[in-house]
Symmetry: D3
Subunit: 61 residues, 6 copies
């Protein structure tokens, strides 16, 4: 039942998201014995105008 | 002051979201005595390409 | 695959959480056709010293 | 390393988000000594059809 | 109706949380016109053993 | 700047969390070119009485 949320600035390709999901799920199975069928991986791709670091939006850097 | 977040794959209709909000809010009032005016229900409709189960994106199933 | 997060100030009893989980899950089945076995309901009971409304912590009200 | 998530109904302008990010980051530095370079501020602008208060979606008010 | 979540490693004092809540709420009022009574600020103080940066838990640094 | 949140029922050992953090961070570097120093992995270990599946709390199964 783990729910993994990946929040990042910008976009990933479909292939990157597929590969990350596969590896994260395998990691949770190998390291913590979590059955893959209960592992959710959810991506949250945030626009550069909606994320600031050090007080400045990425879209302004 | 409860904040209820509903995260799911794909879309719900406007009518479904209205009905779910109504029932969730009533449940929190009936069961836990929470005043409706303080209950927020927020929907997060996630694209099938952004959610994986068992290591596979829904868009690849 | 809906994941419902309920965030609130203070504690609910075990019975309240059981009843809310049951009703939320049934609502998602009835209104949106979501199979109960894929519905997660997660409670996040926040301490009064960690939640502010109108700029004041609940523990200071 | 604080991650600040601001979730709200509707949209803010680019200027509003830039100013809020700047002030939030400065607040965390001034009040809690957090180095600005480790402060993330992330905005989540939710559609009026995806947020309910008191059991009614904002889009239905 | 903004909900602001502040997630950080370790603990803040009661006074720090009160002051941050006050300033964040005022910022949202001044910059975005949000009525204070609808602003929630929620703190999530994460244990050093539950947060990793650069692949290492803070408790191992 | 990816923030990875891992939410699960029950506890992991310190060693499991360290290993998962290491592998997740390496995956994001290898697959998506994310610099490790900007990758946060945060664990949220939820009590069995606070998570329901199929309408039943884990503590009642």
């Amino acid at each position: 039942m783990p729910v993994v949320n990946v929040k990042l600035v910008g976009k990933l390709s479909k292939e990157q998201k597929a590969e990350i999901s596969k590896r994260f799920t395998k990691t949770l199975e190998d390291v913590a014995g979590k059955p893959p069928k209960y592992v959710y991986v959810v991506f949250d791709e945030v626009d550069r105008g909606n994320w600031a670091m050090a007080g400045t939006l990425f879209s302004d850097m």
